[in-house]
Symmetry: C2
Subunit: 183 residues, 2 copies
């Protein structure tokens, strides 16, 4: 499975492509940052982000896009830009028919380091080890994008199973597995 991870932001949008399946070795296909100038209008910056994400989708052809789920507890100003950048990333993926997965920052940290409260340095260091890189990817947004992709690869089987159950619930056909010996 090839996943594009996107750490959304108006100024710096981290992007990282990881190949892998759960329980197997992971490998990095590409990593980078889509930047937009702070002095440009928000609308122009969103156009630049769209172009950047499109270029990554076009070049790496991921099967799935994992985007950081944005919460509004944080800094008010930053959150709006982050929500807008994440909207563009989701739009680019869904427009191509690619599944979009959202993971919270603590899910990503927990998946990669074992702790939902890990700091940037710990995430960077684990990403470096898991992908057998020479040094942590810089800036931190790039490392975070790779962490998102890794998190998605490892969580996908669980998430897919939960989605199947939720869909079955909606259809009213909840699959119940009876213990052995009971019919």
């Amino acid at each position: 499975m090839r996943v594009l991870g996107v750490d959304p932001g108006l100024t710096r949008c981290g992007v990282g492509v990881v190949d892998g399946t759960p329980g197997r070795r992971l490998s990095m296909a590409g990593v980078g940052v889509v930047r937009t100038p702070a002095e440009a209008d928000v609308a122009e910056r969103l156009v630049l982000i769209e172009r950047g994400i499109e270029a990554w989708l076009e070049e790496y052809r991921p099967e799935c896009v994992a985007v950081e789920r944005v919460f509004s507890q944080h800094n008010v100003r930053t959150v709006m830009g982050t929500a807008q950048a994440s909207a563009v990333a989701m739009l680019c993926a869904a427009r191509r028919g690619l599944p979009v997965a959202l993971h919270t920052p603590s899910e990503v940290k927990a998946a990669v380091t074992g702790s939902g409260r890990a700091d940037k340095a710990q995430v960077g260091s684990m990403v470096t080890r898991l992908l057998r890189l020479d040094a942590p990817p810089k800036p931190a947004d790039a490392a975070d994008a790779l962490a998102l992709a890794i998190c998605h690869i490892w969580r996908a089987p669980v998430t897919n199973r939960l989605q199947e159950i939720a869909a079955a619930h909606r259809r009213g056909t909840v699959p119940v597995r009876l213990p052995k010996g009971i019919r």
Copy 2:
């Protein structure tokens, strides 16, 4: 000047097209709502909003798009969806090279009713009078989109002048008009 006003939202995105210039009669060219199903994924909903906005831009060919400026003081859940929907509206406009203007809800209310604290009914009633409609457009999102367009038409001369001054400041060529008699 033809303006498309967009009152952004994931469930209902109000859209309204108004023709006019400051000091002249205004007229409505079109009004409606782009809706997306609440049960769909956010990414899919953003694709539907993009298609909807594109259809309005294609049909009405506005010269400018006015979008409500989103603040995060409000309800946390709603604000994220509103920020995402507004990002798509801004993107669609800027991608076509159309100028995008953002107006706050109180700027819109003040422009249309004279009070920044007017309620939905007052805005709807003033929009109805200003555009000489038979009844207030429904739902409120549609009336708000028209109010945004009207606000933009009336504020545009002021906004343009302020933007020129700001641009001149950035270039270091601030135009200073000296009082008569002074050289």
